[in-house]
Amino acid sequence: MDKDTAIIVEGIGKRYRIGAAQERSDTLRDLVVGSARRVGSILRGGKARTGSDTIWALKDVSFDVKRGQALGIIGRNGAGKSTLLKVLSRVTDPTEGYGELRGRVGSLLEVGTGFHPELTGRENIFLNGAILGMHRREIARRFDEIVDFSEVSQFIDTPVKRYSSGMYLRLAFAVAAHLEPEILVVDEVLAVGDADFQRKCLGKMGDVAQSGRTVLFVSHNMSAIQRLTQESIVLDKGRVLLRAPSAEAVDFYLNRGLSKLGERFWEADEVPLTAKPFVPLAMRILDKNGNVSDAVRSVDEFTVEVEYRLDEAITGLRVGYYLNTTRGEPVFTSFDTDDAALFNEYTSRPAGTYLSRCTIPAHTLNEGRFFLGLNASAYRIKRYFQDDQALSFSVDAAGSAGTHWPEPRPGPLRPQLDWEISKKA
């Protein structure tokens, strides 16, 4: 292996047994019954357990990472990203293949691993540090720095179960951020906390990436990937589809519709009786090509669609949504009969199945994750149905207004406004 290579992975594969959830012998009784059944089926001429009930979460994954390089890993849920990180951080062994990591490895598959609610902030810093592989002396030396970064110094001797979730995450990230491995393996830890803290974490990650350490970074946040990494690999169904400079990889990922589905269905038992005769069926986000997606781009328009059934006619119905940030701040609210003409046309909606859809223009939302809340009501008469967090989706700002400056922009909107610059005489 080349001296400048920090990570090399050759033909790594990881096989899981599927149906593990149902078929796993959780109790000895299951084991006994299951074995008897298998023996029975063999006796009847059937086949014993074969390879068909296994799945390759990773297959033939090969890549290498140069010392000091930051490599992004992108792919939708279930593409094998987490499995890959688990194999790289030695939490689980590969089923086949070979890999080598040269240098002290620090892995962050989540923040606050091992935090105990009964212990104080101070105690948890030491515990968590030790779990992440720091030495006691090292933690003691960096203790003040960690506390400063976390902004919870007043509560450092309070059990963390009394912390707000924000404080808890800040403390957890602070410990992780002060880990000093030569190779850092990071899962989506930045998808937590409020926007300010996320920004701070991204900044810290940027420092790490620039300090010559080797970083492997998994994220759904395409802007973060582009900001922090030079190159990325795109995973799909456990295989590496592409390795390219990050901008190119992100483009490939977003345009191939590899991002995970943004669709919500309501089962009958999720709908309260009070909703009658309104029956919500589905809510979905369609990208500019009409594909269901939960990751859209700021530079493209996208569509929000609600599918529902009326078992009886409803008078004065309006179906619409609240758009909120993940912090719960409202961005805007919109109903299908906002237009007075449409409202008059649908004064009474007869029984049947409907689709209400609208397009959100390009250059509306800033990067981040958003929640859509569904509401079906008749003004001043009745609220038929409401689900405040029906669906979530993320917006990627790549290429939109001002992204040539690689800095995060506050605010949920990112309009492209027509600026004029003129020189006063």
């Binding site: 992975v9 790594i12 899981y16 593990a20 796993r24 012998s25 959780d26 109790t27 000895l28 009784r29 084991l31 688990k86 194999v87 790289l88 951080s89 030695r90 939490v91 689980t92 062994d93 590969p94 089923t95 086949e96 293949g97 070979y98 890999g99 080598e100 990591l101 040269r102 240098g103 002290r104 490895v105 892995s107 598959l109 989540e110 691993t113 091992g114 105990h116 009964e118 212990l119 105690e123 030491f126 515990l127 030790a130 779990i131 992440l132 592989g133 030495h135 006691r136 059990p159």
Partner: protein, 282 residues
Amino acid sequence: MAEGSKAQQIVTLKPSKGWLGLDLAELWRYRELIYFLTWRDIKVRYKQAVLGIAWAVLQPLVTALVTTFIFERGLKVQTGGPPYPIFMLAAWLPWHLFSNALTRSSTSLVQNANLITKVYFPRIIIPLSSILSAMVDFGISLLILLGAMVFYKVPLTLNFLWILPLTLVAMLAALAVGLWFSALNVQYRDVQHMVPFIAQIWFYLTPVLYPINPTSPLGTTLYNLNPMVGVVNVFRWAIFGESYGYQPPSSGLLISLGVVLALLVGGLVYFRRMEKTFADVV
């Protein structure tokens, strides 16, 4: 850190194959984690308990009082000489250490599933540290035993030092069985229901509350295979000396040790074989 100033640490990833042996060097590198996890277990156990660590004092005290009342006063159990409370405590201490460590370690892997699925470290650290955390209660009980010895004017002799190796054997026994149970519990949650039950039966088969004198040769052999019998009997000798007919460490303890080591080697092999799947199964 200057490049190349330290020996490069190389981690290899490959499918695991069979028996890998216990990597003591690696365990040594992780000694601080063993310390912190033990410390956490101790700390958390008595947090938010009004009486806190006083529970560790109350348990042996109340046990000694109640069993004296029932077994000495009520059932007229003959100890063969020594005052009942000390007779009982001398055996209860190593026994309680063993059963405490055993029950804790058996559920330890499942309770720490969040660590196992997120961070790499030698998995044996988890049952190991839960066994070490049982030492605190033992230490406190030991003080109570010493107090009782003063009260009943039982002289302290150099034999008392034997308590150290005996404690070690009791802990190794707990580790040996704990390795089996903790690894099995990852896959079969039945184990956590079985362990208290097994500990209970085991307790009846060990001469803690009453002396046991098997009558047949087969009975004696089976009786001696229980490693805790050797530990408990020599523990009594360490306190009372030979005055009541207790035997100094002899072949009986060696049998105990042999059984413990056999269980331990088997437990280690089984644990090492299973640990690769813990993160996937737990």
